[in-house]
Symmetry: C2
Subunit: 474 residues, 2 copies
């Protein structure tokens, strides 16, 4: 039998610890002991007769319509969201368009919770999820729940700029953990925490780690199972809460084999789930992981529905925060998404995720092949990623032909970037992702295979190669 | 010619002043001086081919279908959101489902800005709007933009509990301004600010006022034009930023005439707009008003789309906050809403708002008539509201038959509430809305005419009258 999670309430921020429930939310559940329908004149909920959307429909791909050899190939199905329904497994507009609980509509929440159980099955009792208005909001809520102004937070040495922009205005110092090509180093994390000197850092020892373990942004690296276990053990040793930010989790891939093509692996849903790298959540016996899931990379960014999974303490405090920060995710989104998920079912959704996995594998292979073909090998180096949507590559600074100009790394990167844009290719500069600019001594660029058309990859990389050849001894 | 707004940057919080734009957002706009299409390998935007929603449709009421005497009476129209479109006035799914600007999709934003101009026409140059994930998020963003932990904020003596729950965990002291039946008192505001003693209050003089000017929650009161002008002048005198929270603005009504019916006034859109009480925004020559608008009461709470209107400084800082707090409103919501608004046009939307106005007037009249009929006049007193969805009424404490028990106001209200629920009617207790419990010496209840069916009003109020008669000398 699974154990109870640890009491980790000492991690709550002043803001979070002081949150209270609105009396109006609680009172909506009032019941009479008599057999009588309660007429509510309590909460200011508009009568659904004033909702001007009376039905919604969406065209979605039929299950396996994405497979060329399927009898459903190319087929679209229509799913409907009716105004009202007496079926308990329908989320009607009269509910979806109304004020809802901060945790999201029950039916969609149940679907996402069951999905989370299938994939991660957290090893303690009482875990739950809260739906949010997306991963961005998850992070804002989690940071405000756990940190006070003046705290420090552990992050990967290169990290997602918007996450850093969420942290710094809250008064947090971002402490970079060293990385190699396979993600961040447990030894570096242990070293920082073991030798923390609150006086010289000007803040108490960090108690929160923010990480993108799979297909990390920007480096594309994925932490191995062994590292994950070491890191979790370190989190226990140093009493750290792990914010596991996993938008790219389902974009896991087979190893790159040097070809601009990919096999559409005919594996079962069970095999697909089994091959996914174990998450921190799946090994979280203490309840010290807050996992943030997103639909942005696997359904659509515009859905603005994400969720976080955690132990009851963080769920309850997170719910109080969500109620006053965002109220709830869009009911229009939730209505359409639930209709789609219900139509597909858990298995149909896993089929879709396999399709996404295959599509990104193909895209990665195309982009890597273009890089292998066009980039000058004498100055560019990179590791083929096995997850995510990014390839991170170093450009050898020692071969820069204008070294006499004494430019900084950001200056060189900006100059190369401007020339690349002028030649018709946009990409991201390494310095945008550097947590501590004082220790930035290598030139990096990040390219993504998520967006451009496949036939554009060669053109884009050839253009960039030309820019490099003008600036580096190749 | 309208003037420039004042420089009010000294009002920004530490958090807000330190926000920076993500470099990735800026670089998406990179352009080449050559006549060349830029292939972007920069931002991690999924290719729209992976968005599983290929088209959305919604059934919405045809313009004036809500009028019994219209040729469109009862008619529904279908509006569609296609996957892609070359029309510049269509918001397609390929855009709506993608990552967007924090300010919202341009077309919907333009519609709401034009609507704001028609209604309020702010009297300075450069005002703008940002779409948010709803009014709740507007308030969270505004509070974090303007206040630091330890600050005080002016609020109405009775106020919206969720707003107070947004403020207090941020470390704000809520300073109640005295009210009468017509809203809060300018003299009380001036008195507090003129005599502010930072030492005894333990915080600097407030520089932010939070108010619900129209159909205030919970009191239903509406500030007169004269009071609004006085308050704006006081805001200038004491250098106050006004957070104008206006979810009930369009629920303005003619005076109650003692009848459970209402005339569906055949007035033009121009007359409708002209009769709306002037907002603080409409008199904001300095740019010191942040107006928060909501679709929750006039379209649907589940839309989770709101917007705030302010001068450029607050728009730019608010955008930086929205990007890291919520990213943007749901694109699925925005797609459906824009299709509806485009179909209706500005004039059609005003027709809809007149319908909402009429419907709420009818509901208010029904509920007031039920109250006039059933509530014991010797203990209950109330003022018919001219806006909003709430009626606030006092129950004379001096007639409480258990006065010897020495119960507090909240204890009496809770007891009455529990008995009411047991009898099958739910309503809200006055003490839930009290900002300073130390000065709570009157019994109040709040009822809403927004939700229940018209034929339930009599039953509900009769039940509550019975509870009062058991507890008060009537």
């Amino acid at each position: 039998m699974a154990a109870q999670p640890k009491d980790l309430s000492h991690h709550l921020s002043v803001e979070s610890a002081s949150r209270k429930q609105s009396p109006l939310k609680a009172v909506a559940l009032s019941k009479s002991s008599r057999n009588i329908k309660i007429i509510s004149l309590a909460g200011g909920l508009p009568n659904p007769e004033y909702f001007p959307i009376r039905e919604m429909d969406a065209e979605i791909p039929a299950i396996n319509s994405w497979k060329k050899d399927s009898s459903n190939s190319g087929k679209l199905d229509t799913v409907s969201v009716p105004m009202s329904s007496s079926d308990s497994d329908v989320l009607p507009l009269s509910v979806a368009l109304q004020y809802g609980q901060g945790s999201g509509a029950a039916l969609l929440s149940q679907f996402l919770k069951e999905h989370t159980r299938i994939i991660h099955n957290p090893p303690y009792e009482g875990w739950n999820i809260i739906m949010t208005t997306g991963n961005t909001s998850c992070l804002d809520i989690a940071l405000r729940m756990l940190t006070n102004r003046g705290d420090s937070i552990l992050v990967e040495k290169y990290s997602f700029p918007s996450a850093l922009q969420s942290m710094r205005p809250l008064g947090l110092s971002c402490i970079p953990i060293d990385m190699d090509q396979f993600g961040f180093l447990p030894e570096s994390m242990d070293d920082i925490l073991t030798n923390w000197d609150a006086t010289s850092y000007g803040s108490p020892k960090p108690h929160v780690l923010y990480t993108i373990p799979t297909g990390q942004n920007p480096t594309g690296s994925t932490l191995s199972v062994e590292r994950r276990k070491q890191i979790y053990t370190l989190a226990q040793k140093h009493d750290i809460i792990i914010l596991e930010d996993e938008p790219y989790y389902y974009l896991q891939m087979d190893a790159y084999e040097g070809k601009p093509e990919a096999a559409d692996k005919a594996f079962t849903n069970e095999q697909f789930v089994k091959e996914l790298i174990p998450s921190f959540l799946s090994m979280d016996v203490d309840g010290r992981v807050i996992r943030m899931d997103s639909l942005s990379k696997v359904v659509a960014p515009g859905s603005r529905v994400g969720w976080f999974t955690a132990q009851p303490l963080f769920i309850e405090r997170g719910l109080r925060a969500a109620e006053t920060a965002t109220q709830s995710a869009s009911g229009i989104s939730q209505g359409i998404l639930y209709a789609m998920f219900k139509h597909w079912g858990q298995d149909g959704y896993l089929e879709w995720l396999k399709h996404i996995r295959y599509s990104y594998t193909l895209r990665r292979n195309y982009l890597l092949y273009a890089m292998d073909t066009y980039l000058p090998k004498s100055v560019c180096s990179y590791i083929p990623p096995v997850a995510g949507m990014f390839i991170w590559f170093e450009v050898d600074k020692s071969r820069y032909i204008h070294a006499d100009k004494n430019e900084s790394i950001p200056e060189i990167e900006s100059k190369i970037h401007a020339e690349a844009v002028e030649e018709g290719v946009n990409l991201a500069c390494g310095n945008w992702f550097v947590v501590d600019p004082r220790v930035n001594d290598k030139i990096f660029f990040r390219v993504t295979f998520a967006h451009a058309e496949l036939e554009e990859f060669n053109v884009a990389i050839e253009r960039f190669a030309g820019v490099l050849k003008n600036n580096f001894k190749c």
